[in-house]
Homo-oligomer: 348 residues x 3
């Protein structure tokens, strides 16, 4: 089950261009994405109203798309504007168009009731498009239910194991309980690891800092659209990072992770990992990206194996542990919102 | 659902030879086809009555087939004539044999009640085996419900779009309504496009005729067995083709298309595209065949994409258009006949 | 449906070593197998109790296995001995461990009620580990329900057809009815073919014996765990083999076949084919093995084709023949035992 009355990330801005068409399954629905001549993005159901042929194997005609089976022509608003061989066009021939907002390099899509689509509800991801930060956009495809990836994001104890030699590097992470606070949009998790002897493995050799360090992960998870914005950092130990001081030698990162369900058991994962130092060192940006990718590949291998095990034995009981506080709270928020959405759909 | 009390095309005559065996799924049933010593074709259920082993991995012994699991031997009429290690052969050990008729290079199979199998019901496809015509047999496999292909055959408006640069070449086709008449076996569709500036793209460069032309498609669709026989042609404009005169420069074609369901969502498609000029120019026959094949590949790409979209969203509503008159009439005839067959099966 | 209160073969002894882990699906359950430092084999459900991650992509830590998702540590007895970040370990966190017995080069697993696991119930397969015999362990994977393979093992009439040019070589086999006797664990089948003109094809050229011969197959089939132990042989005709005398020129073989269901429609097949002559001729052992393997490949091709036909038409009626006495008796014993197991599970 997917939340529909919210903004999900559909694509990176630079995946759309003025001539092509992008077809992507989002929340179980095949969606055609393209960019109009004035730069505005458009999203239509990728299925002709007539006989279900994919519009994405049709033809762009300016801002319109022609189905190349029987020639129906659709505007960027989904209206059918031409049916070869007949005059009258029934409103039933229109296809569904989805509200879109382009912001912070993301193309956000609203797949629920369009009357409720309020751009103000989009979480802030400005680091992706802020000259004070550098990052490279990345996309991963998961053969897993988005909620399993969400569990992973909300419990960083796995860094000590899944990412033992990459993003983690210390058992302290597994032994540290986060402070978890409710926020307007979801949850905030704060994790401090003080006086660690070493940087995480993925920073060794590329960053100009040595241990001991104080290290932190502070992140906001937004139920709507499964968005995570994560500040993480490392400062020389004892320089007051936890009290809010940022030593000039500190390494600070700002990650954004957006999780968009593709089907019940597959997901899209869009992410950046921004840094606000070495701004003019694209080699560092690329090296950092590659190391984070290696870590995220470890997550995916684990989560896809977990998904396969669950599909093979769907009734497997699960034992909840102390580390699961974040994931369990998040699942509860999600379930509550899914229920509310289902009830409001019934009432409508 | 498939019509069973009718003749379907099972194979091309030249697919059967005196020694080999051909196994093909037809109407959901695996069928073993072979040719006996006297030239007569035989068709058996490709599944031993004993333990379901495929007879097609067995052995031809003259006109008989031995299951190579436990050695049961079957005649071309399906009778079990030998069971190693026992004397008595129960009639339950026989396998089903299907009536066949070989005509016009096709092997026709009757998969319903054999008592109703009347060869007189087979549509005329003599062009495939007539010295006044030339064609090459072709077979395509579709990952699509045969009814989607049938829709395609019964609405030629798609030529303007799917086949814009091959079989179509003119918007006139999409804007022309066919004359549709009921026939004894199904429907006749007649389409005339007068004074067209150019030949269809697939004829340009290979045919000795230039525009302007009068162009036509006249075809008979037979509900039983999904057979289409199509006369098409091009004559110098204004030479009276529509009134029945055939200018000696006219290019005339006679196509045959037979659609045999393989499973609910896959189909066999057998076709020829005959010409009655350049009879002694095999290069032309081959070139014509290749160009028609290119067009039919366009159909298949579109229809398979349509089928995939429908399988992903089986409850997708469909909007009917003016161009759908042919397909809708044909679907109605088919449904009526399927219903009649189901009722007569219940009554029996 | 699988029998669970019995010993099945899980692996060959030499598949387990002191450092690695082997994950194999057995009776529908993913099982992790490994060998402890003291040489004892261990078997755990390959699925962490916490979030279902496979333990097999975790880490061996001595005799223990750590899940590398969140770090839970399990002993070889399935007990969870460490949960990073928490003190208390609930018994619910343990994973299931399976009783194992290592004997005759096989690792035997008990996947039912451990209280009933009695090693005395394991069939004798000593030939695999007896200096008086030579054999090479072999494993095959079948895309087929184990019961179809069992049918094959219990009716050797198929040797005349499936193995016409390999293990069979004579129609006599198909025409010979076995003597079938109930045994404590299942059935004993005895087949004698006297005064046969030739050795079976697989022995021609590698064995020092020429026809005429007396030939035999005497085998025990054990319902529990689908074990077959088969004595077969060839002696110069008329030298009294059937009366119990073994001419020194006789070729004697002792095969062991163990069939362990993987899923409802796939199976593991472990086998050896021992000989008690040419003990110091490893070339002969290898040549014999290769020829038997060729025969077993013929079985697999046939049985997988049969399985595919049955899956395509699950309601296909089957006709029982005289040759089916063995398979039918065996199926009856199996069904009775499955029923008893289901009833005792309900009573518990």
């Amino acid at each position: 089950m997917f939340l529909r009355n919210c903004w999900h990330v559909a694509a990176w801005s630079d995946e759309l261009d003025q001539t092509g068409m992008l077809s992507r399954r989002l929340l179980g629905e095949q969606v055609l994405l393209y960019r109009c001549g004035d730069g505005a993005p458009a999203a239509l159901v990728d299925r002709c109203s007539h006989r279900a042929a994919p519009l994405s194997i049709g033809r762009r005609e300016g801002d319109r798309v022609r189905c190349m089976y029987h020639g129906l022509l659709f505007g960027a608003d989904g209206r059918c504007v031409e049916i070869p061989g007949q005059e009258r066009i029934s409103p039933a021939a229109h296809v569904r168009a989805f509200p879109l907002v382009e912001r912070d390099r993301f193309v956000w899509i609203w797949m629920g009731d369009p009357a409720l689509a309020d751009p103000a509800a989009i979480p802030d991801c400005h680091w992706q498009d802020d000259p004070a930060w550098r990052s490279l956009p990345a996309t991963m495809h998961y053969k897993a239910d988005y909620r399993l990836i969400m569990d992973n994001q909300l419990d960083f104890s796995h860094l000590s194991f899944v990412h033992e030699t990459t993003l983690g590097g210390s058992l302290t992470i597994a032994h540290t309980r986060p402070v978890i606070e409710p926020t307007e949009g979801g949850l905030r998790l704060t994790r401090w690891y003080l006086n660690e002897p070493e940087l995480a493995p993925f920073l060794r050799g590329v960053a100009d800092l040595e241990g001991p360090i104080d290290r932190w992960h502070i992140y906001d998870w937004f139920t709507a659209g499964n968005i995570l914005t994560l500040e993480s950092g490392n400062a020389p130990a004892g320089t007051g990072a936890k009290e809010g001081r940022r030593d000039p030698r500190a390494l600070q990162f700002q990650a954004v992770q957006a999780l968009t369900p593709e089907t019940e058991h597959t997901s899209h994962f869009f992410w950046t990992y921004g840094h606000n130092f070495k701004l003019d060192d694209p080699d560092f940006t690329r090296a950092l990206q590659a190391r984070i990718q290696a870590g995220f590949d470890e997550d995916r291998a684990m989560i896809e194996a977990q998904q396969a095990a669950l599909l093979a034995h769907p009734d497997t009981p699960m034992v909840d542990l102390a580390v699961d506080q974040g994931p369990l709270l998040a699942r509860r928020l999600l379930t509550r919102r899914l229920k509310a959405e289902a009830e409001s759909a019934q009432g409508a």
